[in-house]
Amino acid sequence: MNQASVSHACAAVLRRDLTLAWRRRGDIAMPVLYALIVATLFPFALGPEDALLQRIAGGVVLVTVLLAMLLALDAMFRSDIEDGSLEQLVLAPQPLALMLGMKILAHWLTTALPLIVIAPLLAGMLHLPMAVMGVLLLALLLATPMLSLLGAMLVALTAGTRRSGMLLALMLLPLCVPVVIFAAGAVAAAQQGLPWIAPIAWLGAALALALVLAPLACATALRIALDA
């Protein structure tokens, strides 16, 4: 009898989720398309004036990415709940928090990473200065994992309910206010030529904390949500 090692289990979960995402590549493209559409609508609504677009570009890209992630968040555990894989994962003799951490990582790689890749394109469409692009990407690299982690915890809480889309947005809003503030704050500061390292450092600190705590909270939430 060979007990599975934790690293094997992590690799198995990560590989499974990435394989599944790859076999449904179309779903990966959806949030990217959504972000493109939203970012395109802004100039139509506000007028093509360069200075205005330039001023709001950072915030628009951040909020757009956040909304696109929210769209994909709902699906994080849904298929696993429907086919019973989540039960098997919960019952496996492995630390559940770590396994969920792998699922969150896979989700981040398949939804947030493509969004980060097209973020310069979105920002370019809104005339964000090239010099600020680096800060925007850095802010996104720190903010999107936060959203994945916090979102996963909330999705786990709603795992036992039927309707969850709108509820998820309602629950996520208070949690992501600080993330948006610091991420957008860093971009705004960089744009004004002010030091932007402080908000980025705060984001990094929050991310370090969330990396440890959110999977644990997610595991607890999931056990509560499945227990009925």
């Binding site: 809480l157 969850s164 208070p174 600080p178 607890t220 227990d227 009925a228």
Partner: protein
């Protein structure tokens, strides 16, 4: 003496005993809340002098400030009850946590409305992205999230546990939101108008404020007792003690 307190708390945690206890105390709390509220309003609206800067408009603080305090206080109570509910699975704690949420949301809503009523003559606009106002708005969303999650589950006790978990996550979030909104505010605009100066409140204004604070607390307890009683009847619908109340029998111990 100290040995009796846990036993007493344990007994109080049982739904039928709490039902009777809360039923007996509720009118007193409600009565005291009304009296204290009336006294505070008289003191605040009639006795207290007008502010030399703001005139009579400042008088809304006698509603606004106690509501704001209660919004946070009730959230604290909810989080503590949620923690107890999650760790020890006590039904009464679940009921207290879940019935606190709408009351707290109402207080927060009152805070927002009175804040914007006051803001209209003071700032010339009914809404401004002031740090405190924004924090209050986020607090309201936290409450709404808890209420929404609670009602999304078919099994009420499971919903209560999930929402309790969210409430605990929220209490960690409240200071973070406050800190970040403050930071954001200093980044984007200058200093904001303060409703209360740090130290220049006179005694004539202070005592109605504190009385109103006591009144809102008493009202909260009375309202909570009523809601939890109704909740317990519903949760324990099949139990003997509820059936006895429903059929009009005298609950044993009540005639004593």
């Amino acid at each position: 003496m100290s040995r009796w307190i846990p036993l007493w708390l344990h007994k109080l945690g049982s739904p039928p005993i709490f039902y009777r206890f809360a039923g007996a105390l509720r009118p007193w709390f409600l009565g005291l809340a009304l009296i204290a509220g009336a006294v505070a309003l008289y003191g605040g609206l009639v006795l207290a002098p007008a502010d030399y800067q703001q005139g009579d408009a400042y008088r809304i603080i006698f509603i606004h400030v106690p509501s704001a305090w209660m919004g946070l206080f009730v959230y604290g109570v909810m989080a503590v009850a949620s923690f107890i509910a999650l760790v020890w699975r006590i039904k009464l704690a679940e009921a207290v946590a879940m019935e606190s949420a709408p009351i707290g949301a109402a207080f927060t809503f009152i805070t927002l409305v009175t804040g914007s009523l006051w803001g209209k003559p003071m700032w010339g606009t009914w809404w401004t992205w002031d740090a405190r106002l924004t924090s209050e708005l986020v607090l309201l969303f936290l409450y709404l999230g808890v209420i929404g999650l609670y009602h999304a589950f078919e099994d009420r006790r499971q919903g209560a546990r999930a929402a309790a978990f969210l409430a605990i996550v929220g209490i960690i979030n409240v200071p973070i939101v406050h800190f970040s909104v403050n930071w954001w505010n200093t980044l984007h605009q200058g200093s904001t108008v303060r409703i209360l100066g740090p130290s220049k409140i006179s005694g004539d204004m202070l005592w109605p404020l504190l009385t109103m604070m006591v009144a809102t607390k008493l009202y909260y307890v009375a309202s909570l007792f009523g809601r939890v009683r109704a909740d317990l009847l519903e949760l324990e619908g099949g139990k003997d003690w509820v059936r006895r109340i429903a059929t009009g029998e005298v609950v044993p111990g009540e005639q004593a």
